[in-house]
Amino acid sequence: MFAYIVRRLFAVIVMLLVVTLVTFGIFFAIPKFTGTDPATLYVGKQADPATIEGIRQKLGLGDPILVQFWDFVHGIFAGRDYTGGGTSDHCPAPCFGYSFRTEQAIWPELMDRLPVTLSLAGGACVLWVLGGVATGVVSALKRGSLLDRTAMTAALSGVSLPIYFTGLVSLAIFHYWLNWTDGEYVDFADDPGGWFGGLILPWVTLAFLYAAMYARLTRATMLEILGEDYIRTARAKGLREPVVIGKHAMRSTMTPILTILGMDLGALVGGAILTESTFNLPGLGAAAVKAIGDRDLPLILGVTLITSAAVIIANLVVDLLYAVIDPRVRLS
């Protein structure tokens, strides 16, 4: 088990390095492609050539890509000193560089926005897992009933609705017309009530979309498992139905749900881009969209790395949890 985790962690680091290199490569190639100089993005087009050259030296933008890549990775672990153009700055570890646009350090900015995204993803996740799995199980047990058909019709509609549409509709109804919710995001530490009020609408909207997917998946898996021999055996030996469903069937049903949950949650941490844009939440996804518009490479790299790390680590956690849920799984 321990050796397995170590081996997987090693693979995680390699994956993250590759992701960084690919992102770096793409955004290194883009300025050449479009003919814009990252140094001018940093100081503005009107700056005199000496200033531009100074910035290029300071940020190492003239170095070959592999050198820049090494400096970047090195900076994350050991911090980095920028010298050139007559000035010198120290960026403490973990150093993700400075934004091309706002000239602020990237890491504090990311850490500033992470709680927003985590609040959004975490709250929605609780809602959709509870709602989706419960709906799926009840639908599977009452298969063909009115309840099942209504739930599945709603679920299919749910997966067919884009979040920025349901988001706008719910904003129009609950925020604009009924005035039930606040529009602004507030930090939990500042005002727990305001935090809840600002997030309840994004939570429900996001959770509805995912609950629809999870309900469909749970129902399909549950139906398949209810046909298994061991369920018949459990019933034949006289177990009560709640035990058969809750203990025997649920355990297997959880496996595929957990797989998807790991991937979804990982992806959401990196930024529920659409949700954050629709509800105007200052999270990582919103930062990324802005950064792409600005060609702000350091910020894009930062968000990409956090997202990829979240996805990869979530997958690792899921793999470890398989062994907890399903005793037949042996990690080696």
Binding site: M15, V18, V19, V22, I26, F27, I30, F33, T34, G144, M152, L156, S157, V159, S160, L161, P162, Y164, F165, L168, V169, L171, A172, Y176, L223, M263, A267, G270, G271, I273, L274, S277, T278, A288, V289, I292, G293, R295, I300, V303, T304, T307, S308, V311, I312, N315
Partner: protein, 332 residues
Amino acid sequence: MTAPLHDTGAAETAAVDVAAGVPAKAIEGRSPWRIAWIRLKRDKVALAGGVVVLLLILVAIFAPLIVSLLGHPPNDYHEDQIDALFGTPKGSWGGMNSDFLFGVEPVNGRDVFSRVVYGARVSLLVAFLSAVVAVLIGTVVGIVAGYFGGWVDAVISRIMDLLLAFPQLLFIIALVSVVPNSLWGLSGSGVRMAVLIAVIGFFGWPYVGRIVRGQTLSLREREYVEAARSLGAGRTYILFRELLPNLVAPITVYATLMIPTNVLTEAALSFLGAGVKPPTSSWGQMLSKAVTTYESDPTFMVIPGLAIFVTVLAFNLFGDGVRDALDPKGSR
């Protein structure tokens, strides 16, 4: 959408009818595709979805004709339909009347009906072609990985893992936003569409690849593959003549279910400003405009949202039906 499962009785009576009614054709071989078609025809919900899909395709193809009959050119301004003071459409329901079937756009008064009809072109074209790209790459790569195994499989699987760990939406926006205005002999919106197709397709192939790889892994051990090999069949022959025909069913199912996802992706990108360029209309773009006007003119938000919803739902219903019809575990 599991209707065919309940229809065992009907299937048998149908078979008996054929046998009893037309003795000359008593022994009739039915290919799996024919069986699937018969099952699909009985699935009313899936058929309804299929009909809507067909209608949407016709609308997209004949968009210029439909607009010349029922609407106004999509880029014409109709300021006379707009309340000069508020910039909102005159009349209730977003300015709907017999002349402007779906009302007019706030501020400039463009015909929403025409823009929705033309939006179908962009949406379907991008969704179809990117699915084709994803299926082509995914099938070839997946089949190669599954059949050859060993280090080939290891390398391909890692690449697929890596692509799935990337924050896709971020990358697509980043790539789309840096593409120059003319490329590959195309210009204007053509470039954007080509890039959208290429990029959505590129990020979609690992999903197809994983499924094809998994299926190939089990198929390559079958007797008929061994028989072909012992008869001296070459690798290419085994891959494309023996294995591929047996993979067509899962690939078809995945492709039909991939199209609605791509419709949503295209709309999301347009919503975030990374879709086709204005004045070419697309549904996501209309929704992003509606973000600023939904308080005064909710109709303009609801119509493109419904267009996306109906399209995605129809494809999902049809895709679910195709999956059930092709499922060998279902009743024949």
